[in-house]
């Protein structure tokens, strides 16, 4: 026994040391990724971005519900009504647009609320099943009917319109420029020509920047918190992203600021199955109703309105974007 113990002793020490070193490193990894990666996303609700960011229950209660005549038998709407739940494709990490609250699992934001209102319009209840999608999979998910609709700041483009049908546009935003708070050399996107610029991977900035700032070099990061971190660490002189996202980042993180005005107009549409003209007309009718009765404005004020300066905008005209 004593011999066994002696022989085992040193080996065990080495193994223990290895395990504890690995554990320490793993913890360090968790620690710094949450302090770095989570800084924008994590502290956004904590900083109380203009109220709760949650739409009041009364807005859902007063939201319109389609009459039986609007839902013909055999249509997509009728099938959704029968299931009692609207299946949508959306992100879970877009602050103020579609972000999951880790404490209760609820998905909050402009896109998420719009989806709930559409579900209410069809089924009478705000039941939404959210499938997490990437920008790479939106078209495929819609054409294979794995989701009924995509609410994902989905910019309407003629190329995409060949694959999917777009209802809307239901919101319009644009790309803007954020820089470090102490930087006074950059005033607009024109000052970015020839500089290194941080963009979000798979965002419209990737394709717009070469025209707006010729000769600029792009560095793309997968998530918004990573891009903000990269900006504060000086991996690029500026971060080009949708204004709504930048505004919420700048509010949560005083180390960065938004400069100039948006330099593009991004019309966002609700992605639908390409061959379902009936459903598209139905969704467009619903958009017109909620825009007319003020529900749209209430959703905007509760979410994006908490960080974007100025008055509530008028929603873009349905069908105004090329491809919608």
């Amino acid at each position: 026994m004593s011999i066994f113990g002696k022989r085992l002793g040193p080996r065990r020490t080495v193994a223990m040391a290895a395990v504890s070193a690995a554990a320490a490193l793993a913890l360090a990894a968790c620690g710094s990724s949450s302090s770095g990666g989570g800084s924008a996303a994590g502290s956004a609700p904590g900083n109380g971005l203009g109220g709760s960011g949650v739409l009041a229950q009364s807005v859902y209660d007063n939201a319109p519900v389609a009459s039986a005549a609007d839902i013909p038998a055999g249509s997509t709407m009728a099938m959704i009504k029968q299931k009692g739940v609207l299946t949508i494709g959306a992100a879970l990490d877009a602050p103020l647009l579609s972000q999951q609250d880790p404490t209760n699992g609820k998905i909050e934001g402009f896109d998420a609320d719009m989806a709930k209102l559409l579900a209410k319009y069809i089924t009478g209840k705000t039941n939404v099943k959210t499938v997490t999608i990437g920008t790479q999979t939106r078209e495929a998910m819609l054409s294979s009917k794995q989701v009924d609709a995509v609410f994902n700041t989905y910019t309407i483009t003629p190329e995409r319109a060949q694959q999917v049908a777009f209802a809307g546009p239901y919101m319009s935003s644009g790309l803007a420029v954020a820089v470090k708070a102490g930087d006074n050399s950059i005033h607009s996107v024109k000052d970015l020509a020839g500089k290194t610029v941080i963009v979000g991977a798979n965002t419209p900035a990737v394709t717009e920047l070469p025209t707006a700032a010729p000769g600029s070099k792009q560095v793309a990061f997968g998530t918004d918190p990573e891009a903000v971190q990269a900006l504060t660490q000086g991996r690029g002189v500026a971060y080009v992203q949708d204004l709504t996202l930048l505004a919420s980042d700048a509010k949560a993180n005083p180390a960065i600021k938004v400069v100039g005005q948006p330099f593009t107009t991004e019309p966002y549409g609700i992605g639908l199955n390409h061959d379902d003209a009936q459903f598209k007309a139905f969704v467009n009718d619903w958009l017109k109703k909620i825009e007319a009765d003020g529900t749209w404005a209430k959703v905007w004020q509760a979410t994006l309105g908490s960080v974007v300066q100025g008055t509530t905008p008028t929603p873009p005209a349905i069908g105004s974007a090329q491809g919608s």
Binding site: A22, Q136, E226, Q229, Q233
Partner: protein
């Protein structure tokens, strides 16, 4: 097919970056692997411990976590590498741990008698490693090393997450314009497959030429 043919230069740049990253990291990972494998068999307990800790730590952490940690945490203490260099260092260190284990397995296939004989004729530890053990050990594990190279090639796609525009990121960028995910990612997949086949074919040739038939 227009989605692919219209963007050959973007995708081509992506392929070049992927190949560069794969070649650089394979060479570095092989060197790291040999060094760590030697550490793990030295007679000095402390060096053995260092080798063990290196392998266990790097093998048991996800590569993506390591990449994000390296790219975003190091600048906090004032060390900033360019993104390509960062990705290359992390992937080389990570795959080096796997290489080390494969090479150590190869060393274990060399009979103990060979090491004893090498020491008996007066070779030092490093001489016996260089002239007797490693040449035989490496020949025994050409196939596993080839497999690690293929895994490494696939893992380079994670560099996209930290801003390196390699093939996967280039495909993402093309898809953003064209909205043809099936064509674009099938094309990228075929490119990865061809590169993996080249590695597999080379490994097979090398093995037939170099393997020791016992």
């Amino acid at each position: 097919m227009n989605a692919l043919t219209g963007h050959l230069s973007e995708l081509g740049h992506g392929v070049v970056t992927t190949v560069e990253l794969t070649v650089v990291t394979t060479i570095a990972a092989l060197l790291i692997g040999i060094i760590v494998a030697i550490l793990r068999i030295t007679p000095v307990p402390m060096l053995r411990g260092i080798g063990l800790v290196y392998v266990e730590v790097l093998q048991n952490l996800p590569l993506l976590a390591l990449l994000v940690l390296f790219v975003f945490a190091l600048p906090q203490i004032g060390i900033t590498f360019p993104l390509f260099t960062s990705a290359a260092i992390v992937i080389a260190c990570y795959e080096g741990a796997y290489m080390a284990e494969a090479i150590r397995a190869g060393i274990n296939t060399v009979a103990v008698g060979q090491a004893e004989a090498a020491r008996a004729i007066g070779l030092t530890f490093s001489q016996s490693l260089r002239h007797v053990i490693l040449p035989q050990a490496l020949r025994a594990v050409i196939q596993p090393i080839g497999n690690i190279c293929i895994a490494l090639l696939m893992n380079t796609s994670l560099a996209a997450a930290v801003g390196v525009v390699e093939l996967t990121q280039a495909a993402n960028n093309v898809n953003l314009v064209e909205a043809q995910p099936i064509e674009v990612f099938t094309g990228a997949g075929i490119a990865y497959m061809l590169m993996a086949l080249i590695i597999g074919f080379t490994t097979g040739r090398l093995e037939r030429k170099l393997a020791i038939v016992r």
